[in-house]
């Protein structure tokens, strides 16, 4: 079919294509298409994703004017919009006033909203209005810096798959209820919570991301967890709590996650797991665990070392291990180096371990012994990468020599020593 070269190329495409094009341009440009031609007048108003971020701000220096303009723009866009809105993202450093935000959220709750992302300003926490809790089709909720108070008749988000709360103020009991009332929840992220004792019951949960000051974390009903990433901060309060708590944290946390594939722990995570951990007790094997990353592991604390060992011994299919050593050097105790010969079975092998990455290595006796242990029990090891910490410069050569003398079980293992340039 010959078309005349002046024929309109774009306007007659189906709305689904127009939408997929318009959502890939900044919203301001999408709105501007309304003056292109008659057919384009309201094409932008039917797109189902609205993303308001810093591309929508006017230039200028007066914060209140910019904020005011942004509020007007959002209000007008919502008012002119026609049809369902599936995604609304507000990502700006300017805090719109509460009445505006409440009205927008009320409007969105009537428009079949599925994805809601609100990340605004750094001044005040905004109070989420109750209409947020009555968006029945919500699948994706991200809230940053807000106050959440679920109303008493809140029955849960029945379609929610992804929940991310960062710096959110919510009564501790309500957070547990919120999590357990979302039956389809697959991904949970909680950041910067204070002194929280958390029990998570989420039968479909696959990805868990926790960061903050947690006193206690219990995974009670999470059989499908695939990825866990935890960063635990410490306060005096929590330290005390650690002294007093009973029961094995390792079991409470990692006792019910047989499908785990990836585990990442930061800061005091290994310390947390070490509490109540009994040596030589490995009830659970993690058949799918392939990647372990542990940061700030203190190789001077025998208990933490035991946790690490327990983890790697319980993961027969482990492929990649990354350990970063804590740079806190406490008073030097007598290192029980006999431990390695005596307590550890010589026949344990890490049949799939291919890559080991040790960072912030400071040449502590147990660190060196650990590397030796790994080298000697990993028949398919390909790379052992060691990066010393910047604080230790004098012992580097000695360490290097020691490392190279260790017996390697794997013929193709290479030991790389990476020195960060100062």
């Amino acid at each position: 079919m010959d078309t005349d070269s002046d024929r309109d190329l774009l306007s007659d495409l189906p709305q689904s294509i127009i939408e997929s094009i318009l959502v890939k341009v900044p919203l301001v440009d999408a709105v501007r298409t309304s003056i292109l031609s008659r057919k384009w007048r309201y094409k932008w108003a039917a797109i189902t994703e609205l993303v308001f971020n810093d591309t929508c701000r006017t230039s200028g220096h007066d914060k209140s004017i910019i904020s005011c303009n942004l509020v007007n723009f959002i209000t007008r866009c919502l008012f002119l919009h026609d049809g369902p809105i599936h995604k609304f993202e507000l990502n700006t450093s300017y805090s719109p006033a509460s009445p505006d935000l409440d009205q927008w959220l009320l409007f969105l709750s009537r428009k079949d909203i599925k994805e809601l992302i609100i990340d605004i300003g750094e001044d005040d926490w905004f109070r989420a209005p109750s209409c947020v809790f009555f968006c029945p089709k919500l699948t994706h909720l991200v809230l940053v810096r807000c106050e959440l108070n679920p109303p008493p008749n809140f029955k849960g988000f029945l379609c929610l798959k992804h929940l991310s709360l960062q710096q959110v103020i919510i009564p501790p009991h309500d957070i547990e209820v919120l999590i357990s009332s979302c039956p389809l929840l697959e991904s949970l992220t909680l950041s910067y919570f204070d002194s929280l004792e958390l029990t998570i019951r989420a039968p479909n949960l696959k990805y868990l991301n926790l960061e903050g000051e947690f006193k206690d974390i219990r995974l009670e009903n999470t059989p499908h967890l695939i990825g866990i990433s935890v960063a635990m901060y410490m306060t005096d309060d929590i330290a005390e709590h650690f002294e007093q708590c009973s029961g094995c944290n390792f079991d409470k946390f990692l006792g019910g996650v047989p499908c785990l594939e990836r585990l990442i722990g930061h800061i005091y995570f290994t310390k947390y797991l070490s509490i109540g951990n009994e040596q030589g007790n490995f009830p659970v094997t993690y058949q799918n665990l392939k990647f372990i990353e542990l940061y700030q592991v203190s190789f001077e604390d025998m208990k933490e070392l035991l946790v690490v060992l327990r983890l790697i011994v319980s993961s027969p299919n482990l492929e990649e291990l990354q350990i970063s050593s804590s740079s806190i050097t406490t008073t030097t105790d007598i290192y029980d180096l006999e431990f390695w010969e005596r307590d550890w079975p010589a026949d344990c092998t890490f049949g799939k371990l291919k890559i080991v990455h040790m960072t912030d290595f400071s040449g502590l006796p147990h660190e060196i012994a650990f590397i030796k242990f790994l080298l000697g029990h990993s028949p398919v090891l390909e790379q052992m990468i060691v990066a010393p910490t910047v604080y230790v410069t004098d012992k580097v050569v000695k360490m290097l020599i020691d490392l190279l003398t260790f017996r390697r079980a794997s013929p193709q293992a290479t030991v790389k020593f990476i020195q960060e340039p100062l």
């Binding site: 002046d6 309109d8 306007s11 294509i17 997929s20 318009l22 890939k24 440009d29 292109l36 006017t58």
Partner: protein, 378 residues
């Protein structure tokens, strides 16, 4: 186009909208969800006669491009970087081809290709001025002046557009004011009818003395609004007044005569209802009154009305008997729509038509007021 190697490969036959048939390697073709579904569900495509017919938006040239894409990406071993490089090169097409490709990929449900081409098209829209976009995509600049006058909902700091917005705003304001003047006149017209109905209703409903004055003031208020209208003056005013005032006294008279009044009217239901039928059509022009009567005139009018009311009440029973005795000729009271003129005619015939079917009313009783009275008496 897929390279045909003389090996044990299976092929899928595809037919484009123009009738031409192509033979494609199975793995390449199955990369498209739509083709895949067709093969699995209907078993088509296995031979030339049973070629899968592709949607209309896929022409042979575009199909070739799509198959190139599929052929590259269906190979599992490629790295992400390789794929990205291929994609970047792949979408270096002219705009027309790109649009056709997007459309075709969408109809074949090949989502990754739709995303890729949409991104390319999005790049052509982002940050460009409307003129540039129109040129790129051959869009007609067909917004009328009026449409352009509606405010541009754009957050922009382009000073030219801001200036344009201001000009448009001013023009809009002017248009609106012009329209407002038109609307005012239209509104007045509408009020005429509404108020007359209201009057009618209130007349029917409110028979008590208390609401009398309220009604009077209400109708007065409504009439005040109509002052601006260019309406006929004197005769209307007078009759209008009577209309208004006559609402009140007959009821008081009636209250006294309740014994007499209702019964004779039963047979007259026909007549009254007939005239009531007329009422919505009647042009209550008479309704508009100039409120500023001087009191002397007012008194005179009052007297006349009372007089008339008495006459009406006393005459009616006899009249009714007369009319009933005539029997057949039950014609509705011949009131014409344009009240005053025709009534005068009837008044002229006054002596002749006594005794006939119709009752001739004094000239200051307009059709509107008559109807109101009759309805009230009902």
């Amino acid at each position: 186009m897929a390279v045909v190697k003389p090996e044990m490969k299976s092929y899928i036959w595809l037919q484009t909208a123009d009738g031409s048939i192509q033979q494609v390697e199975e793995e390449v073709a199955m990369f498209c969800p739509m083709i895949c579904r067709e093969v699995l569900q209907t078993g088509m495509g296995s031979s030339k006669n049973y070629a899968i017919s592709l949607p209309q938006r896929v022409n042979p040239a575009i199909l070739g491009l799509i198959l190139d894409y599929c052929q590259f990406h269906q190979v599992p071993g490629r790295s992400n970087k390789e794929r990205k490089i291929f994609d970047e090169k792949f979408i270096r097409l002219d705009t027309k081809k790109l649009c056709e490709l997007t459309s075709a990929a969408d109809s074949l449900q090949l989502r990754p290709l739709v995303d890729l081409t949409s991104r390319a098209l999005a790049r052509m829209i982002e940050g460009k001025t409307p003129e540039e976009i129109r040129e790129t995509f051959h869009l007609p600049d067909d917004l009328t002046e009026e449409e352009k006058l509606e405010p541009l909902r754009n957050m922009t700091d382009d000073p030219r557009i801001r200036l344009l917005n201001r000009l448009y705003a001013r023009k809009r304001k002017e248009l609106k004011e012009r329209e407002k003047l038109k609307n005012v006149e239209v509104e007045e017209e509408q009020h005429v009818d509404e108020r007359s109905v209201d009057d009618l209703l209130s007349f029917i409903n409110g028979a008590d003395e208390d609401s009398k004055s309220a009604r009077a003031t209400k109708s007065k208020k409504k009439n005040r609004r109509r002052k601006e209208q260019a309406r006929n003056s004197s005769t209307n005013n007078e009759t209008g007044n009577h209309n208004q005032e006559s609402n009140c006294p007959p009821s008081s008279c009636l209250n006294g005569d309740t014994g007499d009044v209702p019964s004779p009217f039963k047979p007259s239901d026909l007549q009254v209802s007939a005239s009531v039928k007329f009422s919505p059509k009647l042009d209550f022009d008479d309704g508009d009154i100039d409120d500023e009567l001087d009191p002397a005139m007012k008194e005179e009018i009052d007297r006349e009305v009372e007089d008339f009311a008495r006459r009406l009440n006393s005459d009616w029973p006899e009249r009714m008997q007369e009319i009933l005795s005539l029997g057949q000729e039950r014609r509705p009271v011949p009131l014409s729509v344009n009240g005053n003129g025709s009534l005068r005619r009837y008044t002229d015939f006054l002596p002749w038509h006594r005794g006939k079917c119709f009752y001739v009313l004094p000239c200051h009783v307009t059709p509107g007021s008559l109807v109101l009275l009759l309805v009230k008496l009902l």
